[in-house]
Symmetry: C2
Subunit: 226 residues, 2 copies
DNA sequence: AAACAGAATTACAGAAATGTCATGAACCGT
DNA sequence: ACGGTTCATGACATTTCTGTAATTCTGTTT
């Protein structure tokens, strides 16, 4: 699992960092709230360990900012403040757990893994796909480009879904035949070409940024990049 | 929110029960693990408070049983055992949090609400619907009756989904026209009847238990019950 | 630049899905 | 039991979707 530790006390930070690493996890560690917030917002961690008192941006402010930006990364708050009021305040401000210093590393590890695991367990198979301004809602079966709804036929939808599930990667013609048409042989026709063409006319036509790219001799790719 | 408290010490149980009620929550409380496990498995709570030491079935066993039956109700474990090892053991065995007695009620409340809230937040829109032996996978767009795959046309699928989303409740004709056909007026035809008929021939025909029921003068209902 | 292969596009035809209508059955009050 | 209403179903018409094939376009190689 991948964790971020935000703690200004060098000794504690190294202690936690080392312990988590030894338990087989990936750890990033920073010593101030500003860097912590930046990393937490841009990288993809399973959980955070955040000290309450921090230079530049304190732990509570950091969590508030994160929650405001709709992130629900589990966070464990560390603090020397052992008052019940402080603990309640920490929990109320977006922390999922609160541990008072000094703490036993074993307990930190157990709590952190519980937080991270529970979240992953509940996490449902993603039902929304995105590439630039192209959004796909698999449950509602709706596709939007730049917030304008696009109507796709079933085949077109399946084709686009296959491309989106493999964003940034080439999807070969063989793969498409298997996944979208359920053909396990080469039908010797140009079905794919035709449907790609139709899909493009709905998705890319008239836009200054094309998303569906041809990979000559291989297949197709949908991509963020130009 | 709705909580279950499993605690054999009368004083503690009443204290927690009263506090949670006063905080505006719904509380059930029992004094032994057997009743606790039964309620937790059959009722639908937002979170559990479970004491470690309990008559008949202890807290850890209770949680293990629950987790084994694929429940992920958040649980907070209470215990007089304050050793780090005990705390780690509690967390490892399926508790989402661990609080040492004596505790401040404020902290219990804060922790419990955090657990329950986080879960609800993350909970994704359900992508599987079920009614008896009829299963519907909204993401894969597949329907099974008694583990046999049924092929549905898009309209039929939408119609069945609408019924399943409102299992046990009557779905009126007007609702169906709005949800399935996106008509906001009465088309003065019998489209619904025709599609219900086709759906029935695929879903109910030849089965000894019909699931789609007519509610004369109102609409249709899909139901577990006979 | 010519020749070629892969890909794009268009038009068309067959298949599938959807809706309309007509007929008959089931239900409900009198 | 009768008549009216509501619902079920089968046949048919229409629309939509999908695949084929012919033609044009594009990039690559010689």
């Amino acid at each position: 699992m991948r964790f971020l530790v935000v703690e200004d006390d060098d000794q504690v930070r190294r202690y936690v960092e080392k312990g988590l690493s030894e338990a087989g996890h990936n750890v990033d560690a920073v010593d101030n709230g500003k860097d912590g917030l930046f990393l937490a917002a841009t990288e993809n961690y399973d959980a955070l360990v955040v000290d309450w008192m921090l230079p530049t941006v304190d732990g509570i402010t950091l969590l508030n900012a994160l929650r405001a930006s709709d992130s629900n990364i589990p966070a464990l708050m560390l603090s020397a403040r052992s008052d019940v009021d402080d603990r309640v305040r920490g929990l109320r401000s977006g922390a999922d757990d609160y541990l008072v210093k000094p703490f036993a590393f074993e307990e930190l590890l157990a709590r952190l893994e519980v937080l991270a695991l529970r979240r992953n367990q509940v996490e449902a198979p993603t039902s929304n796909l995105q590439c630039r301004d192209l959004h796909m809602d698999l449950l509602k079966r709706q596709v939007y480009r730049a917030n304008v709804r696009i109507d796709l036929n079933p085949r077109e939808f399946a084709l686009l879904e296959c491309l989106m599930q493999n964003k940034e990667q080439v999807v070969t013609r063989t793969m498409l035949l298997e996944k979208v048409w359920n053909y396990h042989f080469d039908p010797q026709t140009n079905v794919i070409d035709v449907h790609i063409s139709r899909l493009r006319s709905k998705v890319d036509k008239g836009k200054d940024q094309s998303l569906i790219h041809t990979v000559r001799g291989a297949g197709y790719k949908i991509s963020d990049a130009a």
